[in-house]
């Protein structure tokens, strides 16, 4: 049994092109139904403004599967600790024996989430889209932007966040790139300046209105992963040209779709193509240059299984970790 710590993982697993096909393959398995992925387990600890999510997925034919614990304790920054935490456990598919514990402290979750954003942008935004607007200024804001730059040549970045200091720090971290940097004074202004928009907040109220969105825009909404979270006006899902969930059964319970269903803007009978369907057949993706597309990411266990397997194999090859 191999124990891997965060340093070992960070040194070998990077947010780069190599991970895109790994996560794409996982989404395709999920959409083909060759996956056993139970509903997400959540433990809320309201007193400490904290939650732990457990995700898991077995992808048929693979020799291992992951169970992942990801915690968000949102008062941690006040005492100088990161809000995210967690680990992944890799089990042998044939015997259930624990092959590895990956003490990534949330790093692999952050990484596979950003890669999903890159994949959504790759299949749904216009090829020549080169302006990005990021709502939020936390870790995912930065990672989503870096991930988008793997698949699109970006020349303008706009950010909006409630906390202007964090928004400035966010922009500052990209100052060495030859890219226009802009802090928007509203989400409306951000929408006006961006062909690709990513929402990365834990907002409980919509931050984006449909009227603000320019034709041809692609939006990735990745902040909502719980019933009470909602980043974009539910009407947008009705009025946009294409809505793509990472996994419809999850987004209808936890994502932006949940709110559109609750408001009866979309019928619960309606079946959308999941992201994996579009990866499998890119013709199902963006149809016209003018289309407004939305990808709703709640985070899936298959992404965890894919990145845990990748990390384990890489670290094992490099003789890293402690054998117990």
């Amino acid at each position: 049994m191999l124990i891997l710590n965060k340093n070992q993982i960070i040194q070998h697993v990077h947010l780069n092109e190599e991970l895109i096909p790994i996560i794409e393959e996982a989404f395709v398995s999920l959409s083909k139904g060759s996956v056993m992925m139970p509903p997400i387990m959540r433990i809320d600890i309201k007193k400490y403004h904290g939650e732990s999510d457990i995700k898991a997925a077995y992808i048929e034919g693979l020799d291992s599967f992951a169970i992942k614990i990801a915690s968000g304790f949102f008062d941690n920054p006040k005492i100088g600790l990161p809000s995210s935490n967690g680990l992944m456990v890799l089990l042998d598919s044939e015997t259930g024996i624990v092959k590895s514990v990956l003490l990534d402290e949330g790093y692999l979750t952050d990484t596979r989430t950003a890669i999903a954003g890159a994949i959504a942008t790759k299949y749904l935004s216009n090829q020549n889209a080169n302006t990005v607007g990021i709502i939020g200024a936390g870790i995912q804001a930065r990672l989503q932007l870096q991930a988008i730059m793997l698949v699109r040549k970006i020349n303008k970045i706009t950010v909006w966040a409630r906390d202007k200091i964090k928004a400035n720090q966010f922009l500052d971290s990209f100052k060495d790139l030859e890219i226009d940097l802009h802090m928007a004074s509203s989400c409306k202004e951000l929408a006006c300046l961006s062909e690709i928009i990513v929402t990365t907040t834990p907002s409980k109220k919509p931050l984006l209105e449909f009227d603000w969105i320019k034709k041809g825009t692609h939006i990735t909404a990745m902040g909502s992963d719980a019933e009470h979270k909602n980043e974009i006006d539910p009407h947008m899902l009705k009025y946009c040209d294409q809505y793509v969930p990472d996994n419809q059964s999850q987004t209808s319970a936890l994502g932006e779709l949940h709110h559109a269903l609750k408001k009866n803007l979309i019928s619960s009978q309606e079946k959308f193509n999941d992201l994996g369907d579009i990866i499998n057949d890119p013709n199902l993706g963006r149809k016209n240059k003018e289309d407004i597309t939305i990808c709703d990411l709640t985070g899936t266990g298959v992404q965890d299984t894919a990145i845990a397997r990748f990390t384990f194999n890489l670290c094992k090859k490099n003789n890293l970790g402690i054998n117990i």
Copy 2:
């Protein structure tokens, strides 16, 4: 972060009286509602006859909570491996930081499950009951019996199992005790000889009929922890004098109660006292010497949190484990 391996855990945590109040307290918290315990997560890998269950519970006021992975891969014995496996992860309740990974390989699950059997027997069987019948001859058969001997003075053990060799081996492991040992040729015979009965199998069909049960018998049914498992005739739940679930919301989905509800033998409106209610007020337990009582154990996350915390504190005090 402290990594504890199975050897360290086995050397310090034993199936003894000390654990009874620890697990009792957890059941009481659960029945008082001061617990956040999400539904069990299950990953089935049918191809390999395997399943992984994830359980978790936060008990209000405690500084840590556990998330537990327990796997059962039932073809493992064919290749010389134990079918059970797993680990527990202990997280800080205030920050979500991982405090410990307990690589117990199922040992702590086995132990806390047996202790629940001791607790059921302590509160529900007659004080002077001294004959035990065990159905099944696996690890839990042995542990349940050892646990019962912590709370009752036993002078006759009867076993029944499909596999007679395993039943013989089971009896053989108790040969050094001054106790009558008996292999029953049927479950009916076993019921006739026993005041306390424990069912410990993964059976899909009832093994015990109500007509066979003598007055005054206590039955602990601990094998069923999934929809398709069923060890006792569902009519028994209707006709017995007292039915006690470990946690009614779990037993109505996964335990013996599930089958009685499905057959409309018991109304879904009926509310039973959980084991924790009876620990909290023993007057709610057995009323008469002649009563037939049934305790339905599906295994709860609070037991895992309780034993993980106990183990962590004990091992830390003894400077065991690897700090990472």
